[in-house]
C-alpha cells in the first residue's frame, strides 16, 4: 500500500527568488547608504523603505546604461536624490513650513562649546532627524553627502549641480547650522 500525502497538508512556501548575483553585490554594498539617505531626506522609515526599493528598481531597469563600477555609488545617489526630491516636492509644499531665515542658525548662542559632546547614542537618530529637519533642504543634502567619505567634493558638486567652491561655502554654513540645531535638539 502506497502512502499518499495528506490532501490537507499545506504546501511549503515557495522560496523567494534570490537577487541576480551582480545586482545582489551592488545591493549589499550600497543599500545601507541609500536607505539612510532616503530616511533622512524623507524623515519616515516606511517612505524610506519604499524609496530604497524604487531606487534599486530604477537602477535594475537602467543597468545597461551604467558606465562602470567606480560610479555606482554616485549613480545610485543621483537616482535617490531625484526620487526623494520628486516625492518631497509634492508632499513638502503642502505639509511643511520651511525655515528660510538662515540667520536663526548663524546667530544662535552657545558657539563656544561643541554640540557633539557627550551624545547619548540611543537618542542619536531622533536628534539628527530633528536637527536636519530644521535645515534648508540644500544644507541637509550637502551634509548627508559629505558624510560619505567615499564621495569627493567634485562628485558632490556634480550631484548637486553647483561648483565645488559653492559646495565648500555652503557646507561651512550647513555645519554651523546643523551644530546649532543639534544643540537645541538635546
Amino acid at each position: 500500500m502506497e502512502l499518499q500525502p495528506e490532501p490537507s497538508a499545506p504546501a511549503p512556501p515557495a522560496p523567494a527568488a534570490p537577487l541576480p548575483a551582480d545586482f545582489a553585490a551592488i545591493y549589499e554594498t550600497h543599500s545601507q547608504q541609500i536607505f539612510y539617505l532616503a530616511l533622512r531626506l524623507l524623515g519616515d522609515p516606511t517612505q524610506a523603505e519604499d524609496a530604497t526599493h524604487d531606487v534599486f528598481m530604477k537602477a535594475w531597469r537602467n543597468l545597461g546604461g551604467f558606465r562602470g563600477e567606480a560610479e555606482v555609488r554616485t549613480w545610485l545617489y543621483r537616482i535617490t536624490l531625484n526620487h526623494c526630491s520628486n516625492l518631497r516636492s509634492s508632499w513638502h509644499a503642502r505639509n511643511v513650513h520651511t525655515q528660510s531665515d538662515e540667520t536663526v542658525f548663524e546667530t544662535a548662542a552657545g558657539a563656544a562649546d561643541s554640540p557633539f559632546r557627550n551624545v547619548e547614542m540611543s537618542e542619536l537618530g531622533q536628534r539628527i532627524r530633528t536637527a536636519l529637519g530644521e535645515l534648508p533642504e540644500e544644507y541637509r543634502v550637502l551634509l548627508l553627502l559629505v558624510a560619505d567619505q567615499e564621495l569627493s567634493y567634485d562628485e558632490i558638486s556634480q550631484l548637486t549641480q553647483q561648483s565645488t567652491d559653492a559646495v565648500r561655502g555652503k557646507l561651512h554654513r550647513a555645519r554651523k547650522a546643523f551644530g546649532n540645531a543639534f544643540r537645541k535638539s538635546a
Binding site: 526599493h53 535594475w60 545597461g64 557633539f116 559632546r117 557627550n118 551624545v119
Partner: protein
C-alpha cells in the same frame, strides 16, 4: 518579598543607567555624527527579499543596442 522586588528593580535600573552611560560618545564634527547614525541604521531585512520579488516579476533589462555592441 517586597524588599527583594525593590532590590531587583534598583539593580535593573542601575544596569540600564550603566548601559546608557556606556553609550555616550563624543564627536568632533557634523559629518562624524551623521556617519555614526548611519552605521547604526540598517535597512529592513525584508527589503532585499521584496526587491528580489519585484525584479523576478520584471522583464529582463534591455540588451545593448546592436551598434553599441559593435562599437562599444
Amino acid at each position: 518579598m517586597k524588599q527583594r522586588l525593590q532590590q531587583n528593580q534598583t539593580s535593573q535600573t542601575g544596569q540600564v543607567q550603566q548601559q546608557t552611560g556606556a553609550q555616550r560618545r563624543e564627536f568632533s564634527e557634523a559629518e562624524e555624527v551623521i556617519r555614526a547614525d548611519r552605521e547604526q541604521t540598517a535597512p529592513p531585512g525584508s527589503l532585499g527579499e521584496r526587491l528580489a520579488e519585484s525584479i523576478a516579476s520584471e522583464p529582463a533589462p534591455p540588451a545593448k543596442p546592436w551598434w553599441k555592441r559593435l562599437f562599444g
